[in-house]
């Protein structure tokens, strides 16, 4: 199970990184969102994988580590705020500049995917 989990997180990360390296804003925002999922899964797993031991007192004999969960919970919400901020930044940039290119066309002509 641990290997499966780790591989999944790895693939998720790889796909996010690939998206972040694109030249247009929308894939980048999706990439950031997905990367935050991957990071959350990674952080969460520092409490190790435990099944059926919810950290609710009285629900069982032993409990999984609640601390990473608390950290990840706020991370999810902050991640949402970041996604929202970046997507609206992208919209604003589109409105102001008229393009969704993320490369500065004036100083650099190495952009692709036009």
């Amino acid at each position: 199970m641990e290997a499966l989990y780790a591989i999944t997180v790895g693939i998720l990360t790889a796909c996010s990184v690939f998206l972040i390296l694109r030249g247009r804003s929308f894939p980048i925002v999706i990439g950031i969102t997905m990367l935050s999922y991957a990071v959350n899964l990674f952080l969460f797993s520092t409490g190790r994988l435990v099944i059926g031991e919810n950290p609710i007192l009285g629900s069982g004999d032993s409990y999984t580590d609640p601390l990473p969960q608390a950290l990840v919970l706020t991370a999810i919400v902050i991640g949402f705020a970041m996604t929202a901020y970046s997507i609206i930044l992208a919209v604003r940039a589109r409105g102001e500049i008229g393009t969704d290119e993320v490369n500065d066309l004036d100083t650099h002509n190495d952009t692709e995917g036009r």
Binding site: M34, F44, G47, P55, Y63, R94
Partner: protein, 929 residues
């Protein structure tokens, strides 16, 4: 306490002239004068203690674990400098009142001046070396403002920049030196450092420390080869030159050498470096002073020369040398400040400072000429003025030292040469300006200035005479204590005009005659000097600065190409390069922790997740498909949380997923519809390699973590959640209680992000397509009936569920974050189903206020524990018996969670509702909407 006041009065006083801007010039001057006078009288009030041999000290712990405390002392050395700073400061303020023209920004001048004064006082009175350094840099900054006071002139701006670069840069070296000292001693307190002097001199770091500290001192005091900034600082208004570049700032380096004299002096290194630097500076300064045609230029180089003299004396370091050095500081301040003021008066009244035009002013301004002659005579070292006394003593000290062995005679010989030059430029100052024929086409017809403008000069010149005649009466007390602070023992002073026929007197006589000869043959000197190419220090300096900025920009342009893709690729590659060796060091990737078997559900979930993620990556140009794939990923992540015992996370993730996808679909409307051409195969290949590398590393790390046993601090939380926090949902108790401070920070961040988004949307003119990509118009039914009906029915239920989830959160999965998101999504559904107009007509909530109230409630809950004398955010809970409901737990944590709840609703709604409004007439168009 009065020590602190002495420092604070000018510091607080900096605000006064600015506040008085609307009033008369006189009132502004008084507003600067009064704090200075008050500080001066406080200083005089504290002086008797110091003169009696005590050292009043003041200590207020500040950043004690860094060794930085607000520590002040008033020993003899501090008293001497503080007295000069405040005393001459008063005169300068009065003088500037007449000097500045009606066009000048007078309040700004006085504010900068007072700031500078406070900074100098801080240096003089600091009892902690780090604390002193803070003021050291403050003098650099405030002198930058003062030199650049006439910022419309490019000379002023360049001079200011050069002074800042040189003195500020030296300051950094000094900081390094001070930190090393603190490293050895373990304290920055002056007394501690002095008592560890022997240890420091033995230490291997002694030479680096000495060099760094001297670098700071030499740059500040314009010692060779750093003397070049001082003449260019003469672009400042003359009161500034009189104050900074004669009496105070340039003496800060001298002060530093005196302050650290007990610690650093006494070695050969100190002796050779300091003495020789001083000697070279003395001669170079004096030589160039003769050559200058500009009055202030002459005085600037003469200042450099005299600073060199004092430095040299400190280098010699004998008791008599130190006495002479400190005595000369007083004398130099008096005659040089008055000479600068006179130069300013001449400039002010005649319109030029060029000595080739200024001739024969004696008949035009006789009073000025008289005081100028006294001051210049003191500078030349002619009896009975104070300059003569210190010059004799200087000769005496140079004769008495035998530090250069068989070549020791060179020192008195060169000292006499320096004195000769000094006599020559003093004669030039007087003869060229006041005699020597008639003035040549002056811009104005000169005359004596108003009496009050001359008053500060009179006072200084009177001091020159009085100290010359009655040295022991006037300065013995402070000089004794000052010398004691430098050499750690009280000297025996015997300063007098007449010591009989001796070597120093002979040297003085030679200097006088020689100086006169040099002056008479000055034209030969001018033509001699013309053979050399004039090296313009300013141009050299500017070129050096230009070259280094060019190099830096060239370097950065290679990275700063304006391409986000490139930046990110560089960052990721760096991550790879740094991580690969670290991960490679792990011997066995798998650890000893027993692993779980793979079950069918997990397998399917993982496959779906992987397919979803890869789908997003592959179909990212088909945006809607990509979004649907992304939602699959989000859902699977949420299920993973649920599967691995994290119900709270599962719920949060689920709702966040819904809200994020909604937001992105909204955003799609404003983004380009046409799919762009794919990246080149080359680039895709590169990115796939980078991405796989990162993914592989993350997977390896994650596997390594997962398979290793671990110790957690969570046992504490599990044990205390119920008894200490009053809840059984440990995750929620951690959020609102144990780690409540973190959560408070996080909801604040959320609120800031929402506010930022609000601002981004303000006045945004988004790109709004009127049809879809194939030219078909949008559907005319905006709000489908089915959705509208179902959404309205759902709303009350969703709200109740939200409240329920919130209330139970302390004990069962739920809480403010989740409940807030549920409530927000229920409301968003109404916007989608029925439109902005419909929602606005029914509940017109101000989401900003809601959000602010949320943060406020959370903060106030935390502050509330202060009322009960508990630390911030201490929680408290009790059980209440409610009718019908039964036993009910009430915790302050619940109140805190309410704050979280409201913030999350407010922030989420602000983001989504405002964004949704973009296409309607309600879109935010004004500030504060």
């Amino acid at each position: 306490m009065s020590l602190l006041l002495i420092l604070l009065l000018p510091l607080v006083g900096t605000a006064l002239p600015l506040l008085m801007r609307q009033t008369s010039r006189a009132a502004i001057t008084w507003s600067a004068l009064l704090p200075t006078l008050a500080a001066l009288s406080l200083l005089l009030y504290s002086a008797p203690q110091t003169l009696a041999g005590q050292t009043p000290q003041f200590l207020f712990p500040w950043l004690s674990n860094l060794g930085l405390d607000i520590a002040l002392r008033l020993d003899g050395l501090s008293l001497l400098f503080a007295g000069l700073i405040l005393g001459i400061g008063v005169l300068i303020i009065a003088y500037a009142h007449y000097y500045l023209s009606s066009k000048d920004d007078v309040p700004r001048f006085y504010t900068s001046l007072l700031l500078f004064m406070a900074a100098m006082l801080g240096i003089a009175m600091a009892d902690n070396l780090l604390f002193m350094w803070v003021f050291w840099e403050l003098t650099s900054l405030s002198s930058f403002l003062l030199i650049g006071y006439w910022y419309h002139s490019s000379d002023a701006r360049r001079g200011a920049r050069m002074a800042l670069a040189v003195t500020g840069g030296g300051g950094l070296a000094l900081l390094a030196g001070i930190l090393l000292l603190g490293h050895i001693v373990g304290s920055y307190q002056v007394d501690d450092v002095i008592s560890a002097a022997a240890e420091i001199r033995e230490h291997a770091l002694y030479v680096p420390i000495l060099l760094l500290v001297l670098l700071g001192a030499f740059t500040k005091s314009a010692q060779f080869p750093f003397q070049f900034w001082l003449p260019h600082a003469m672009a400042a208004p003359t009161p500034v030159s009189a104050y900074l570049h004669s009496a105070t700032m340039v003496k800060a380096g001298i002060f530093l050498m005196a302050r650290l004299h007990p610690v650093l002096a006494g070695s050969e290194w100190w002796f050779y470096i300091v003495t020789l630097t001083g000697l070279v500076t003395l001669l170079v300064g004096a030589y160039f002073a003769i050559l200058k045609h500009d009055l202030k230029g002459l005085l600037a180089f003469s200042t450099i020369s005299h600073l060199g003299l004092i430095t040299m004396l400190l280098g010699i370091g004998s008791q008599v040398a130190v006495v002479t050095a400190l005595f000369h500081i007083i004398n130099h301040a008096t005659f040089k400040a008055s000479l600068f003021m006179i130069a300013g008066i001449i400039d002010h009244e005649s319109g030029t400072r060029d000595m080739r035009k200024l001739n024969g002013l004696l008949s035009y301004m006789p009073i000025t000429a008289t005081v100028a002659m006294v001051a210049a005579a003191s500078m030349a070292g002619i009896p009975p003025f104070n300059g003569f006394l210190s010059k004799e003593m200087f000769f005496d000290a140079s004769v008495q030292q035998h530090l250069f062995g068989g070549l020791s005679w060179a020192l008195p010989a060169l000292a006499t040469l320096g004195a000769m030059l000094s006599v020559a430029y003093s004669i030039r100052f007087i003869h060229d300006v006041f005699f020597n024929g008639e003035p040549k086409d002056l811009p104005k017809t000169p005359h004596d200035p108003p009496r009050m403008m001359l008053l500060p000069v009179f006072i200084l010149v009177l001091l020159c005479i009085a100290i010359g005649l009655l040295p022991m009466t006037l300065v013995q007390g402070v000089l004794m204590q000052a010398v004691a602070a430098v050499t750690l023992r009280l000297p025996e002073l015997d300063i007098a005009l007449w010591h009989g026929f001796n070597m120093p007197l002979l040297m003085s006589a030679i200097a006088l005659v020689g100086g006169a000869v040099i002056y008479l043959s000055r034209h030969h000197l001018f033509s001699f000097n013309r053979q050399f190419d004039a090296i313009d220090a300013k141009q050299l300096f500017e070129h050096a600065v230009q070259r280094s900025t060019d190099r830096a920009s060239a370097f950065f342009e290679r990275f700063d190409t304006g391409s986000l893709q490139r930046y990110l690729a560089l960052i990721f590659v760096t991550v790879l390069l740094m991580l690969i060796p670290a991960v490679a060091e792990i011997n066995f990737l798998g650890g000893s922790r027993p692993q779980l078997p793979i079950d069918m559900v997990s397998m399917v979930g993982a496959i779906l997740l992987v397919v979803g993620a890869m789908g997003v990556a592959i179909f990212h140009r088909q945006r809607l498909t990509a979004l649907l794939m992304l939602s699959v990923v989000g859902l699977m992540v949420s299920l993973a949380f649920a599967h691995f015992s994290a119900p709270d996370l599962a719920m949060t993730q689920l709702i966040v997923e819904v809200v994020s996808i909604l937001l992105m679909i909204l955003a799609l409307f404003f983004m380009p519809q046409r799919t762009a051409r794919a990246s080149s195969g080359h680039r895709v290949a590169r990115d796939v390699i980078i991405a796989s590398g990162i993914g592989g590393l993350v997977a390896s790390l994650n596997y390594a973590i997962l398979t290793r046993p671990f110790e957690s601090i969570s046992d504490f939380f599990l044990a205390n959640a119920k008894t200490g926090g009053g809840g059984t949902n440990v995750v929620n108790v951690i959020l609102v209680d144990f780690r409540g401070f973190d959560t408070l920070g996080e909801i604040t961040v959320l609120a800031i992000a929402a506010a930022g988004i609000h601002k981004l949307l303000n006045k945004l003119r988004p790109f709004m397509p009127s049809s879809d990509v194939d030219g078909r118009p949008w559907h005319r039914i905006r709000h489908p009936l089915m959705l509208t009906t179902v959404a309205r029915m759902l709303l009350p239920m969703a709200l109740i569920v939200g409240v329920y989830i919130f209330m139970r959160g302390h004990n069962l999965p739920g809480g403010g974050f989740i409940a807030g998101l549920i409530t927000a999504s229920a409301m968003i559904l109404q916007y989608m189903a029925s439109g902005v107009d419909w929602v606005k007509a029914r509940f017109d909530l101000n989401y900003q206020s809601l959000m602010s109230v949320g943060v406020l409630i959370a903060t106030l809950t935390g502050l509330g524990s202060w009322v009960f004398d508990k630390p911030f955010l201490t929680s408290w809970f009790t059980y209440l018996e409610w009718p019908l409901v039964g036993k009910f737990e009430f915790a302050t944590a619940l109140l805190f969670d309410l704050g979280v709840y409201l913030t999350v609703i407010g922030a989420t709604m602000m983001i989504l509702a405002n964004f949704g409004k973009m296409t309607t007439r309600h879109r935010p168009t004004q500030e504060g909407n």
